[in-house]
């Protein structure tokens, strides 16, 4: 068994969601760390920041943004970046991530994670901007592979080659979403194992796993349901390749009580334990 990834391992985490705030503070559930949606806490005050600070006192956290729009041809939004940096100073996250996508152009935000064409032009564009962002934040960032529903006629390479090239040229890290690989593999008819087997081992810092909505002809990445068996199998394959990587379950809709998510997190723990990986 190859365990080649030497990066910091936080263990098994969950997304921090408002309906769990009170339970977390009262019961201190056995979650190793929480991932926050950065933008939810870029507000002046009140409950969001109150609960954030209280929960941060008990748990490590990472920041996961949705508005960096690293692939947009608009200028980078430094007002946003300043606020991200200030929040990072407040909660001292283990790391900061966003998505390998674009979210709008001409100053419009579509509030969606839109796919980029896999071209040399896009690699150069994104890598340049990641460099600027990392200089500004004073740290490496992680970029996540998004689910996609369309392919562009002028893409010149596979998604994994694109992801690797961006990471190598900007020296950033990868948040590998196992469910998104599964979703995109079905939507674009490729083998998810080909994806896994080609992602650079030393670039991967975190995993996401999640549920989705299968409409047969297309799969939608909804984060509204439990993780399915095929995604767990893919997770196991990912562990074999990348070693023990900080793993987090995303649930954004139909959010169940904390206990159900803890049970799901235990499945991840069991799979990892069964592989006897060195953390």
């Amino acid at each position: 068994m190859s365990v080649v990834n030497q990066r910091r391992n936080l263990g098994f985490g969950l997304g921090l969601r408002t309906n769990h705030y009170e339970t977390i503070l009262a019961d201190k559930p056995p979650v190793d760390w929480f991932e926050i949606i950065t933008e939810n806490y870029l507000v002046p005050g009140g409950k969001p920041l109150h609960y954030l600070d209280s929960i941060r006192a008990d748990y490590p956290m990472v920041m996961h943004g949705v508005s960096l729009s690293i692939g947009s041809t608009d200028a980078l939004n430094f007002d946003y970046l300043r606020q991200v940096k200030a929040l990072a100073e407040r909660i001292d996250p283990a790391w900061i991530s966003d998505h390998l996508c674009w979210t709008g152009v001409n100053g419009v935000n579509l509030h969606d994670l839109l796919p980029l064409p896999y071209t040399e032009e896009a690699i150069r564009h994104v890598a340049d901007r990641v460099n600027t962002v990392q200089d500004f934040l004073g740290r490496q960032i992680l970029l996540e592979n998004v689910s996609s529903y369309i392919t562009y006629a002028h893409s010149e390479m596979s998604e994994w080659d694109f992801l690797n090239a961006v990471a190598e040229r900007s020296d950033c890290l990868i948040l590998l979403d196992i469910n998104n690989i599964f979703v995109s593999a079905r939507n674009h008819a490729f083998d998810p194992l080909d994806y896994l087997d080609n992602v650079l081992v030393n670039r991967v810092q975190q995993f996401h796993i999640a549920g989705h909505l299968d409409l047969e002809h297309i799969i939608i990445d909804t984060h509204s349901d439990t993780v399915i068996d095929s995604v767990w199998k893919l997770y196991e394959a990912a562990l074999r390749r990348f070693g023990m990587i900080s793993t987090m379950i995303e649930r954004d809709d139909n959010i169940p009580p904390m206990n159900e998510l803890l049970a799901e997190l235990d499945i991840a723990r069991q799979i990892t334990a069964s592989l006897e990986l060195v953390a």
Binding site: E39, N40, L42, V43, P44, G45, G46, K47, P48, L49, H50, S67, G71, S72, T73, N77, D79, Y80, W102, G104, V105, N106, G107, V108, N109, L110, H111, D112, L114, L116, P117, T119, E121, A122, H125, Y149, I150, T151, Y152, A153, H154, N187, H188, A189, H217, I218, I220
Partner: protein, 264 residues
């Protein structure tokens, strides 16, 4: 036919306008697969765009949603979405122009209660995550020297929102929040002044008498205690004015509205 030389910027312009304009046919750089046509695939993005924004509006305007009913609410949201693309990095602010939209666009412009409910719910949402600020207590006010009182000015809590309502809107909102059937909108004979604010993380609102509303508005405008007292003479005898003004200050301390006393 696809254009190999399509730049990243051209792609994003075409993609975005197809989403915003709900274009029937996707841009020609979107590829069909055996499982799904380019039209079906691209529709995932045009649908998701609208659904996500409708969901964001529902978080801010639950009572409006209940009042309009799901179908009319959906129609209203889609009309707003098509006129007001988001220009903020956070979806949290997407609904901030809804009141302006409903005041201008038919059929809503002729239903004043719809705009009023929207204004009320938006004020609540602003109070929810407005800046934190420590409030002062009775002791701070008791320590004010007699000769300082006339020049006293107040800084009120940043969450405070002062609105005037024509209808029983807070009652409608309360019923919606409690999941009760909504009462009918009824217009008040006179405009009613209200304050919405946050105290110990809790959202609160209460109505104000005409006199108390005058005093709050005057302090918000930066007037001094002496100015406020002379203004209150419109309603009270001169000997009783100070007593009434002191009564307001006491209530505002209790409600956690005052964060600072300033003197000049």
């Amino acid at each position: 036919m696809t254009d190999k030389a399509l730049s990243l910027n051209e792609l994003q312009q075409a993609f975005q306008s197809a989403v915003l304009q709900l274009q029937d046919t996707p841009p020609d750089f979107v590829v069909d697969t055996d499982q799904a046509s380019s039209t079906v695939r691209f529709k995932v993005y045009t649908d998701a765009y609208r659904l996500r924004l409708i969901e964001a509006l529902s978080a801010d305007y639950p009572a409006l949603q209940q009042y309009l009913g799901d179908e009319d609410y959906d129609t209203m949201c889609r009309a707003y979405i098509d006129t007001s693309p988001s220009d903020q990095f956070s979806i949290r602010w997407f609904g901030r122009h809804l009141n302006r939209f409903l005041t201008a666009a038919q059929p809503y412009a002729s239903q004043a209660e719809v705009a009023e409910l929207t204004a009320f719910e938006w004020a609540l949402s602003e109070a929810f995550d407005a800046p934190d600020k420590a409030v002062i207590d009775y002791n701070r006010m008791a320590a004010i020297a007699a000769d300082e009182w006339p020049s006293l000015k107040l800084t009120l809590h940043p969450s405070l929102r002062r609105i005037d309502l024509q209808y029983n809107t807070p009652q409608i909102w309360q019923a919606a929040t409690d999941k009760d059937p909504l009462p009918l909108f009824t217009a008040n004979p006179d405009t009613q002044a209200w304050i919405i604010w946050r105290q110990h993380l809790k959202l609160l609102f209460r109505s104000l008498s005409v006199e108390e509303a005058f005093a709050v508005d005057a302090f918000i405008k930066g007037e001094s205690f002496a100015d406020v007292c002379s203004g209150l003479c419109e309603w009270f005898d001169e000997e009783q004015v100070i007593m009434h003004a002191a009564g307001y200050l006491q209530a505002w301390l209790r409600d956690g509205w005052i964060v600072e006393c300033r003197f000049q």
